[in-house]
Symmetry: C2
Subunit: 720 residues, 2 copies
């Protein structure tokens, strides 16, 4: 019966299970350049998972222009590095800047030109194009959200989700258990007052909330101490390595320390990520949320907060704090009385931020993709099959081929979309929050996502048990998180450009201090003077190769030793600071204004859908008017003839009562949907023929969940 | 028949026309302390006007707490004026600050202690409490908008507006005429291609847009030149008065000039306001908008832009530009080669801003209320009756008492709500935009609005022809304008506090420069030195009473004459500037964050309504299920007996088919609404009994405009 009969009759040539279609057409890496068959995904996995993949698709698609612009910006940096005056000046040995030593005692004075490499590298990421790129990416984030809004509305229109209302959900079992326990306790104590319904009050939840707040604070503390631990590691190891007599070790201090420290950071982040995920679930259970939706929302918020802090704390440190508390020669800041606070590389903190960002972003993506998403499920599967074999060996004698459910049992259960979304949101943070310092981030995100889509598809089709299809009309709280991150990114980028990069000092020098109006002399201007005789006892270089040094230079805006207020912040310092702050205000307000304009210019609902809604509404009104007229005629005829009209014949002829399908098929959306549905080749799910579905969809736009929809009435009448 | 019969039968004691009820209970100044009978207003004037008065009510109500806090803040200023060190130092004659002359040649050096009055006055508005008040008022604006959102949803629930969709409107007659003309032109030219529908394209609208843009730019220019004209007036008159030999004139320069200039400003604003209103209408007509709604939206935006610029340009000038381009002693900035740019009063620009704000706000309100809203309509009415008398004298012989329509004809026609809203929005600007400089603004707004409500009510009830009732589900574009102003006010207040007031310089002095950590010495710190020998020839005072002055002081942060870079901005200048800018960033982001939190904490839909919606939905589903069952039984019985059931009797008994009212009256909203409707005493409008209305309201929440609502079906059936 069913599809096989139809094939036998020659109505269809062949039929394929939807699972196989998806496996062939979607869950393959070689299909990476194709659009996803979102409608089929929705049919097989339900709306919730369909929306996730649609969202991921839109995000990946929009990463393409961002990547291209990012590559151009990076290319601009590469192209201009040889004509860039500040980095040329830094590399110029003739200028002969003798810098103050980088550590106490053991380190010698050094020539600025030895830091030529980092200066050139930092120009790649710290050039005027970056400012443009930061503005571009802020607008890109707004554009992405607006675009997704439109896509979501299109999808909910074609998937018939517009009418969904939040039905009252059943309470979670855990909630009910606790409620029951409370009721029993109460009933034991007082047998009167039966009428009062017992509910969970804030008193029942208070301990949970307290544990929540304290745990979250504790975990924040944990994250910060992890970051601080890595700082200490860096400080101590570089101090120890600097003291080593081996000149090879000495010369590689910075590279070795930075690389190992970032890797330690990465490992800590990955470990804490897993721990925080588990802790967030435990904490949310303690809050006793009433419904599953409630539970999910609280869990997501908590997990997001923790994982966001975890992933970004070291990056924030490098961007905004590193090197700002190091003090100055003669008055360094020490931790544990012995170790000097770390400074940024001579090329500026931006290059370090860039290294940190790229390693954490790439490392997180590669490791999470490979180990956590492919490796661990495979391992779990292996363990399960091994375990099963022990029990199965006894039954193997029956030699029956394993049933589908046996095979499916070996797969991992579906554990919600939260981890998938979370991974992407944290990635969105790398793409938007610090994009000013790393214009290649969108490119790396794009490369990752092209793989991620197919990886997730593979996982859903082959690695997991088929999840129970769930409806959802939007991506829920994730949209708010995305939009919040977009807003946050504006201010973060403003601060990165004005405080982490050297963009503002360069501008200030060019327009306020430069005699020639060019950048010549910028490096000299950024370096302050230090009189070697002002070194505290024991901190001066013990054996210097640099002959007779009386004055060394360091990067800061401070008064020279011969000024009356020596080593105080100079006028330039305050001037540059004011310019930096003014830039933040300008940038933030300009970008916010442009974002508002972009959001205002792009209508939320696509024009085609607006028109279609209007047309459908008109048709619907016509239909109801005609039906009313029919009813009226029927009743009139009953009274007029005073004899039963063959009512059944009237009612039973749906073609006469509902001459709609013909007219409806003139609607483009219905027509295309019908075609699409036919093309599906009888895939699973999706009740009713294309026509019925189409009609139902358009009705439900207006009547919502009211059961008396004409379709119901119709089916009931014809059933008589 | 009708109500009179019912009164005769004793069902009601008496009946009053709604007009009289409103006249007695609402349109009276003595009712100012009462809540407005919004439901009656809506019944008589329709939803659109009802929403206006509801909005005005909410706004006025929320002004109460703002006024109270404003009074407290002002009170704090009054209470601390005698202990405030900076103003005490300014008044202290012993400190003996000899200030540089305020004009070239004619003016003498002067003692700072003579400006004691303004120093004390400016402390009233420039104290730490103002910062708190600015934050408070920004949050207040968010709170107001959130509160209004809730009120609007409550109203649209009880007024049955939730289901309204934007029906396709008819095109405006003007649009149709132009379209027709274009069609005729085309048809003359080409007789083929009949199929192509002719529409107005951008080409037809281009001239209109061009005129629009250029006119708006021209009017912006007009506004700016008006502001500039007043500046020139101030500069020249004060220069001329300073040169007069009469000492009385000399001493009153500042007061006279400020007062007359502000009044000129006010008059210009009032005149341009009227002109801009008319020009905006003309410009919008040129754009050929398709529908009336479209027309209204464009008109409002344009009128708002023009009137906003007009009202606020002089205030912006005083707040952010006045005194910043005046130069310094020895190097003043001159306009027309002769007149020095004006400076702020010695007490700071804030006190001038405060005077400007209060005079424009109060003057605008008083004059617009009295002359434009009361005087001119009365005058128009007078003119009309005088005109009519000429024509009417001939017919007077018939000696019929004048009919109601004759009386109504004498009234002014209703010209839309735009002017009413506009007045309030501009006032909202005074309350929110510059509130940091004038904490009494909410109080004045409150006093104005208490009168405004009754004044508008009186106007609508007695002065205007009764407007055609129009439906509207919200206040439309005004909400967006309000919300935009709320956002804009955050940044404006941040700048007022940090740049116009002396709050930041005081903080910087106290924490960075003060030796004792107190404010002692602040005035000395803000005054720079000027060597009298550096005066340009002819600009030094011609005959000085101040004996032997070698150095005079002026308010700025510049290097002293004996420094190597004399008269350049000093380090303090940049330091204070950085602090000011940092404060702007901090303030803006803090307030924006708090606003988000406030908007997030307050749910958009009141909880009672959410619950009611749920309950009604359940009832509705029950009802439809029961009806379906009835229908099914009816059809079954028809077939079973093969004889006509007395169908009519079944259908004609609504109580049996719809046993709802009993259940529905358990709904609190319906119950109260029914009571309210009974209390109305049969007012005009409002079709159907309270029950029917109540039922209809709850249905329309789900079925929207679909004609097949049970009520329709019912009435049709009973009509058979």
């Amino acid at each position: 019966a069913g599809i096989t009969t139809l094939i036998a009759k020659g109505v269809y040539d062949a039929a394929f299970p939807l699972h196989d279609v998806l496996h062939e057409e979607w869950a393959r890496y070689s299909a990476f350049y194709k659009y996803q068959p979102i409608d089929l995904v929705r049919k097989y996995f339900g709306e919730k998972i369909g929306l996730y993949f649609a969202w991921l698709g839109v995000y990946t698609q929009l990463l393409v222009p961002a990547s291209i612009v990012g590559i151009i910006v990076f290319g601009y940096g590469v192209a201009t590095v040889d004509t860039n005056i500040p980095s040329l000046e830094m590399c110029d040995e003739r200028l002969n800047f003798t810098m103050c030593p980088l550590c106490d005692g053991a380190c010698d004075f050094w020539q600025l030109s030895t830091a030529c490499g980092t200066a050139r590298a930092s120009h790649l990421f710290d050039n005027p194009a970056t400012v443009f790129f930061a503005i571009f990416m802020s607008l890109w984030a707004v554009l992405f959200l607006e675009h997704w809004k439109r896509r979501q509305i299109s999808l909910s229109f074609s998937w018939d989700l517009t009418g969904i209302e939040d039905d009252e959900e059943h309470p979670r079992p855990k909630y009910e258990t606790i409620l029951l326990q409370k009721r029993q306790r109460k009933q034991k104590n007082k047998k009167t007052k039966k009428k009062k319904r017992i509910q969970l009050t804030w008193k029942d939840r208070l301990p949970g909330y307290c544990i929540n707040v304290s745990s979250i604070l504790f975990m924040f503390g944990l994250t910060f101490s992890a970051v601080f631990g890595v700082i200490i590691y860096r400080i101590t190891v570089s101090a120890l390595m600097a003291m080593s007599p081996d000149p090879e070790t000495k010369s590689n201090v910075r590279v070795t320390v930075t690389a190992t420290a970032v890797i330690i950071n990465l490992v800590v982040i990955l470990i804490l990520d897993e721990i925080y995920g588990a802790v967030a679930v435990w904490l949310t259970e303690l809050e006793i949320p009433k419904t599953e939706t409630n539970f999910e929302e609280r869990l997501i918020l908590k997990a997001f907060l923790l994982k966001f802090m975890n992933a970004y704390a070291p990056i924030f440190y490098v961007a905004f704090f590193k090197g700002r508390f190091a003090g100055r020669p003669g008055s360094y800041v020490y931790v544990f009385n012995d170790y000097r606070m770390e400074e940024c590389a001579p090329g500026g903190c931006l290059i370090e931020l860039c290294i940190q960002l790229s390693i954490i972003m790439l490392g997180k993506q590669l490791i999470q993709n490979n180990i956590f998403e492919i490796g661990i499920p495979k391992l779990k599967k292996l363990v399960r099959t091994l375990k099963d074999k022990g029990g199965a060996e006894k039954e193997e004698e029956e030699e029956r081929p394993p049933q589908q459910w046996n095979l499916d049992y070996a797969l991992a259960p579906f554990e919600g979309l939260t981890p998938e979304y979370m991974e992407m949101i944290i990635q969105f943070g790398f793409v938007s929050l610090f994009v000013a310092s790393f214009p290649l981030a969108p490119l790396f995100a794009l490369l990752n996502n092209v793989i991620e889509i197919r990886l997730d598809a593979k996982k859903f089709v082959t690695e997991l048990r088929r999840p129970v299809a769930a409806r959802a009309k939007d991506i829920g709280i994730w949209y708010n998180i995305l939009s919040g991150m977009g807003k946050f990114s504006v201010i973060i980028n403003a601060f990165v450009i004005s405080f982490t990069s050297d963009f503002i000092p360069r501008l200030v020098y060019q327009y306020m201090y430069s005699q020639s109006g060019t950048m010549h002399g910028f490096i000299d201007h950024t370096l302050s003077y230090f009189n070697v005789s002002n070194f505290k006892p024991g901190t001066a270089p013990q054996n210097s190769d640099h002959g007779d040094v009386t004055v060394c230079r360091y990067k800061d805006y401070r008064e020279p030793p011969w000024a009356p207020d020596a080593y105080h912040f100079s006028k330039q310092y305050w001037c540059v600071l004011a310019a930096r702050l003014a830039f933040v205000i300008l940038f933030q307000n300009l970008v916010m204004f442009l974002s508002l304009v972009v959001a205002w210019v792009i209508p939320d609902i696509p024009k085609t859908i607006v028109e279609q809604l209007k047309r459908e509404k008109k048709l619907l009104v016509d239909l109801f008017l005609r039906e009313e007229k029919d009813k009226f005629q029927l009743i009139q005829s009953l009274f007029a003839k005073d004899a039963p009209v063959p009512l059944g014949s009237h009612v039973l002829d749906p073609a006469q009562r509902f001459p709609l399908p013909g007219r409806y098929s003139t609607l483009p959306q219905c027509a295309t949907q019908a075609t699409a549905a036919d093309d599906d080749g009888g895939g699973g799910g999706g009740g009713g023929g294309p026509r019925a579905r189409c009609r139902a969809a358009s009705f439900s736009l207006y009547t919502r969940k009211v059961p008396l929809s004409p379709r119901n009435e119709n089916s009931k009448h014809t059933a008589v």
